[in-house]
């Protein structure tokens, strides 16, 4: 089932469907999980924000994490990536435990996240944003930076950054301050910057929020291209059309718990999900695009 690149492929889906045949039940095991989490719990005061018994993310897929505002999606992202501390729970990435690791250590392992509120470094140039994300730079050590041991490495990183920026159509902006970019372009920059880390898995928290509709299509194209390059994508999104269109697998979170999992068709017909989420968003379009923290 998993990764056979020679699999015959439909033209609109060049990659074999790596989530076909998995049973659509919450916490179901996947044939080749890159991320595996158990008993992840986090509460704020009396409120249990996240309470996930078991979650696996299949390698090489686009997995969407959906749920109403306040369901705990961002909190789960923060927990898994070391930006918040779990009350209890274990999780592994590529078979190695991430428990207790700090945010930067998780990123170095290859699991890189973006933020719901874009964190483009606005007072730095687009190029500097990109170069900052390159790993293993000698020049980032104090002595290495002082002694200018970094110039060749920097040139190679710059080349790679330009390639990525070209892909995201930001190469003409490379010397401008990131603060001069539009909201959508900043989302693109944040994504390009995450790729500069050369991750195995990217976790995108609402990559489409606040992006103008003309850019959404190109963002979607980028996300599917990531998967086609062999990357695993886990993303949070509100727009149902977007989610159904590009996801291989969908995980539905409500009040911190996984209430359903499945491929888009399973989710569309799941009555629990319709009650908890889709129903509300279909009746009230504002709820589907509504912003939280």
């Amino acid at each position: 089932m998993s990764s056979d690149p020679t699999d015959a492929a439909a033209p609109d889906r060049p990659v074999p469907d790596r989530s076909a045949g998995i049973e659509p039940v919450p916490g179901v095991a996947k044939p080749d999980p890159i991320l595996r989490a158990d008993g992840i719990r986090r509460s704020f005061g009396g409120l249990t924000a996240v309470d996930v018994d078991h979650l696996e993310v299949q390698r090489g897929t686009i997995t969407a994490l959906i749920g109403p505002n306040g369901a705990g999606k961002s909190t789960l992202f923060n927990l898994l990536t070391g930006f918040d501390r779990v009350d209890s729970g274990q999780w592994t990435y590529e078979g190695r435990s991430l428990q207790g690791l700090a945010g930067h250590q998780v990123a170095r392992r290859g699991m890189v996240r973006t933020f719901q509120l874009t964190k483009a470094l606005t007072r730095m140039t687009v190029m500097d944003n990109m170069l900052l994300a390159a790993q293993g730079q000698v020049g980032e050590k104090m002595l290495g930076g002082l002694l200018r041991l970094w110039t060749t490495q920097e040139a190679a990183n710059r080349k790679r950054a330009i390639e990525l920026l070209e892909r995201f159509k930001l190469d003409t902006k490379r010397d401008e301050m990131a603060g001069s970019l539009s909201g959508g372009q900043r989302k693109l920059l944040e994504m390009a910057r995450a790729l500069m880390v050369q991750p195995g898995m990217v976790m995108l928290d609402e990559p489409m929020a606040g992006v103008n509709p003309a850019l959404v299509q190109s963002l979607l194209g980028h996300i599917t291209a990531l998967r086609d390059d062999g990357m695993t994508v886990l993303f949070v999104e509100h727009d149902m059309d977007v989610i159904m269109g590009i996801s291989d697998w969908i995980v539905v979170l409500a009040e911190g718990k996984i209430i359903a999992e499945g491929c888009p068709d399973d989710i569309r017909s799941n009555t629990q999900v319709i009650d908890a989420y889709l129903g509300a968003s279909h009746d009230d379009p504002a709820a589907a695009t509504g912003e939280d923290r």
């Binding site: 990536t81 930006f83 700090a102 945010g103 930067h104 250590q105 990123a107 170095r108 890189v112 996240r113 973006t114 933020f115 964190k119 483009a120 470094l121 606005t122 007072r123 730095m124 500097d128 170069l131 900052l132 994300a133 790993q135 730079q137 020049g139 980032e140 050590k141 104090m142 290495g144 930076g145 002082l146 200018r148 970094w150 920097e154 301050m177 603060g179 001069s180 910057r193 995450a194 500069m196 880390v197």
Partner: protein, 327 residues
Amino acid sequence: MDFLSIFSAALGSAIGPIAAIYALAAIGLNMHFGYTGLLNFGQVGFMLVGAYGVAVSVLTFGLPIWAGFLASIACAIVLALLLGIPTLRLRADYLAICTIGVAEVVRLIYRAPVARDLTGGVYGRQGFADGFDDANPFTDGLDLGIVSFRASDLWVMVWAWGLVGLATLVMWLLMHSPWGRVIKGIREDEEAVRSLGKNVFLYKMQSLVLGGVFGALAGALIGLNQQTVTPDQFMPQVTFYLWAMLLLGGAGRTLGPIIGSMAMWFLLTLFDEILRGLDSIDMLPFFGGPEVGAMRHAIVGLVLVLLIIYRPQGIVGDRKEMLVNVK
């Protein structure tokens, strides 16, 4: 009033030893605040341990002056670690509160009776600079016509401006390297930098240590310049002078702290001399005598207020970096 002599005094203080020493300490503060965004309100604490590093090494332990400088640097590193380990993981304002408190605590410890054998308590330390003076190659002062310096001033100036030059070079190299890029990223948004795999805590610690070492070297030079150290030279207002200089010159710029220190000492001396001149010919209607010294600070304060209003980025600050911050 003799305008030439007023100008000459102001110029002399702008390029004199004190301006150089403050510039060096302000370069350290620029590392902390200007580049990394760390709110250090206790730079004077680093200056204090630096000054005593030399004084105590030489007087109490009989070490040569160069070893005293090494001791100063070591004390600054220890202080930075003590300060940074508990606070650098917390929000920025906690560091601000801790630095101002720790600098005062350090001063009180150094002046406490229990420390008298080592630090001389409230009386401080004198006579540790003899070796420094003996090594002075200048026998005569320097007269440039408009300003002149004594031989002892020249010797301190060589060291102080030399260290300012060295510190500036180090800062320029570092801030134009990938290391500096991480530091500037942290100033803006440390979570973003962390998400890209950088150990933010380590960088903040390095910044705190490096800036603290510059502060300690400045403190060591204060001791050598005045031939004496007492704890009460290192009151919190010294830190606030440094902040004023840094903001005046331009935070986050290589030359900002130097220009800020020179401009500040120029203005302070200028207003001081003008007010004293006016006082001496009874042209000051509402005050005089001892109030003149306080008045010059008020005027400098006014200049700073005007600067913040009309040129918030400082004399050499980068307006673009100041203003581009649209969310």
